[in-house]
């Protein structure tokens, strides 16, 4: 097991280096001079030259790549031209709000999807099952930003139950969290359903029934616990979905997190800031997936890892 852990962690190194390579390389594909583009049309030649130097654009790509890695270790991802601040400082300020939003959304997914998926798995092809199936697919098919706008319209504008946006207490959190969770609820509910249904066909479930255990105990104790094992890996992928979805959700609800920072960077064409945010979110995603893979190895007794 520890050999598998070591191998899995070692495999992460080239992926992280590759991700940094992709992020650093995108600067190469900007048509024209990135420095001039970042400063806008009223920049003086001197300021453009200074920025070129700051971004290491006067150096060959490989040097720039290694300097970017070096900077990452020092917590330096460059300076945002539009905010006149260091990118890392800006990210550290906004990251907690995004983690709060995605954390609550993930909690919502677990609280809704696991009981719902298990419940319909015991009644395949019933009316309720088809209804849940349709709603899950609808949740998967709605654009996140549109869900947010519709929820604001219904619950803030018409019913006046929640604020239309902004950051504050639990009231401010509910609509954005539901918006962000909706597609993942659809996905995970389907996954729990199919996984539990598969377990229900196993011999030991029959054995549990034959012992005279109640259907509820069989379903939630025997079937769900084993059925959840494959679901764990899906949750890791859903986090990636949510980190991307947070960009849209935060833009709709004016949530002061990394997503809104990204939108600001996109509109002001602040490419250094975009690079920083994307890199940090990718690193979070990679770490969480590593954690998910390792815990999968721990909780799944059926597979031995070499």
């Amino acid at each position: 097991m520890s050999a598998y852990f070591a191998r899995r962690i070692a495999l992460m190194v080239p992926v992280v280096l590759g991700v940094i390579l992709v992020v650093a390389a995108t600067l190469e594909f900007i048509p024209g001079d990135p420095a001039a583009l970042l400063l806008g049309q009223f920049a003086t030649p001197e300021s453009v030259a200074a920025l070129r130097h700051e971004l290491n654009l006067d150096q060959p790509f490989l040097i720039r790549y290694f300097r970017y890695i070096g900077g990452l270790f020092r917590g330096d991802l460059g300076r945002s031209v539009t905010l006149k601040r260091r990118v890392t400082a800006e990210i550290l300020d906004t990251l907690p709000a995004t983690l709060q939003l995605t954390g609550v959304a993930m909690l919502l997914v677990l609280v809704v999807s696991i009981p719902l998926g298990t419940f319909v798995a015991a009644r395949p092809n019933s009316f309720l099952d088809n209804l849940v199936r349709l709603f899950s697919l609808a949740g998967l098919s709605m654009p996140v930003f549109w869900t947010g706008i519709v929820l604001v319209l219904l619950f803030s504008v018409y019913l006046g139950l929640f604020p239309v946006g902004g950051y504050g207490g639990i009231n401010h959190l509910i609509l954005p969290a539901v918006t962000l969770a909706a597609p993942s609820i659809g996905m995970v509910t389907r996954m729990v359903r199919s996984s539990v249904m598969e377990v229900l066909r196993e011999e030991y479930v029959n054995a549990a029934r034959a012992k005279g255990l109640g259907e509820r105990v069989v379903l939630f104790k025997h079937a769900l616990r084993n059925g959840l094992i494959p679901v764990v890996t899906v949750l890791g992928a859903q986090l990636g979905q949510m980190l991307g979805g947070a960009v849209l959700t935060e833009s709709v609800f004016a949530w002061p997190g990394l997503g809104r920072l990204t939108v600001h960077a996109i509109f002001r064409r602040d490419f250094v800031l975009i690079q920083g945010v994307v890199l940090v979110l990718a690193l979070i995603y990679i770490s969480v997936n590593l954690f998910v893979d390792l815990s999968y190895a721990l909780i799944n007794p059926r597979i031995s890892y070499k």
Partner: protein
């Protein structure tokens, strides 16, 4: 009997078709997708008005007899804009999935068939791209290359390459050591020919399922990029752009932002149902 190709036999194909035909939700998906495609092709004949024609006298009108779905902030007919918008949604999603499918399948087949170092190299590069959370790689690419429809197609296309590569690689590895491949190798068939004539026909089914499912994702991704101002640019009628501009009038004219979202949802739902149905029909054990 001489058989040059190994594909699904006719009987198996009939069973697949039967299973698909009996699945009501899958049929709903197929019909929705058909409506979407026909709308995209016939938009000029179906649209009651010019989607770009402004008329400030009738701006932000709620749905009524003349303007069935109302008008936007420039007095443009929303129904016509939605009908025309299907063209751009279909164009972006199908071209980007074609891009991912072509390069992904090719790379995945090479990785799966050649194996060893080549496999490691290709798949590690694919892992690199898969390590980006959804949407963020596309944001990075389009904000570097500049906004617009072609860069959006490119970005979504690149995002999908590793997904198809993984699928194709897995499918090739599953049949790589079967006897009909060994027979082809024994008579000296070249690697290229084995891949194109013997392996490729056998991995078409899973690839088709993925293509249908990821068409839905591509539509959502295009709408997300367009909503962020990176994708299709105004005044081109696009569903997400209509939502983005309608958002500013959500209290006074809620129809502007809400109606186009239904179009995105139905198009995506159609592909999801179709993909699900195809998967169930091809592999009934893996039903979700």
């Amino acid at each position: 009997m001489k058989r040059r190709r190994a594909t699904i036999s006719r009987g198996a194909r009939g069973r697949v078709f039967q299973r698909f035909w009996r699945n009501r939700l899958a049929l709903v998906g197929a019909v929705t997708v058909a409506v979407f495609v026909i709308t995209a092709i016939c938009a000029p004949w179906l649209s009651p008005m010019d989607p770009l024609q402004q008329n400030l006298k009738v701006k932000r009108m709620p749905p009524n007899k003349t303007y069935l779905l109302g008008t936007d902030q420039f007095g443009r007919d929303i129904l016509s804009r939605i009908l025309y918008g299907s063209r751009y949604a279909l164009l972006v999603s199908s071209l980007s999935i074609l891009l991912s499918l072509t390069f992904g399948t090719l790379l995945g087949m090479i990785a799966g068939y050649v194996g060893r170092a080549v496999d490691e190299l290709i798949m590690r590069i694919m892992d690199m791209f898969l390590a980006f959370p959804y949407l963020l790689l596309a944001i990075l690419i389009v904000s570097a290359l500049g906004p617009g429809i072609w860069n959006t197609i490119l970005a979504i296309g690149i995002w999908g390459v590793p997904i198809f590569a993984r699928q194709a690689r897995g499918a090739v590895i599953a049949i790589r050591d079967k006897e009909f491949i060994q027979a082809a190798q024994a008579v000296g068939t070249s690697g290229l020919r084995i891949m194109s004539k013997h392996l490729f026909p056998n991995i078409i089914p899973p690839i088709v399922v993925y293509a249908a499912l990821y068409m839905g994702y591509a539509i959502l991704m295009e709408s997300a990029l367009t909503f962020l101002g990176l994708g299709i640019q105004p005044p081109t009628p696009s569903w997400a752009e209509m939502i983005a501009s309608g958002r500013n009038y959500v209290v006074v004219a809620p129809h502007m932002a809400t109606i186009p979202g239904l179009a995105i949802m139905f198009a995506t739902l159609g592909f999801n149902l179709l993909g699900d149905g195809l998967r169930d029909a091809l592999d009934p054990r893996r039903s979700l």
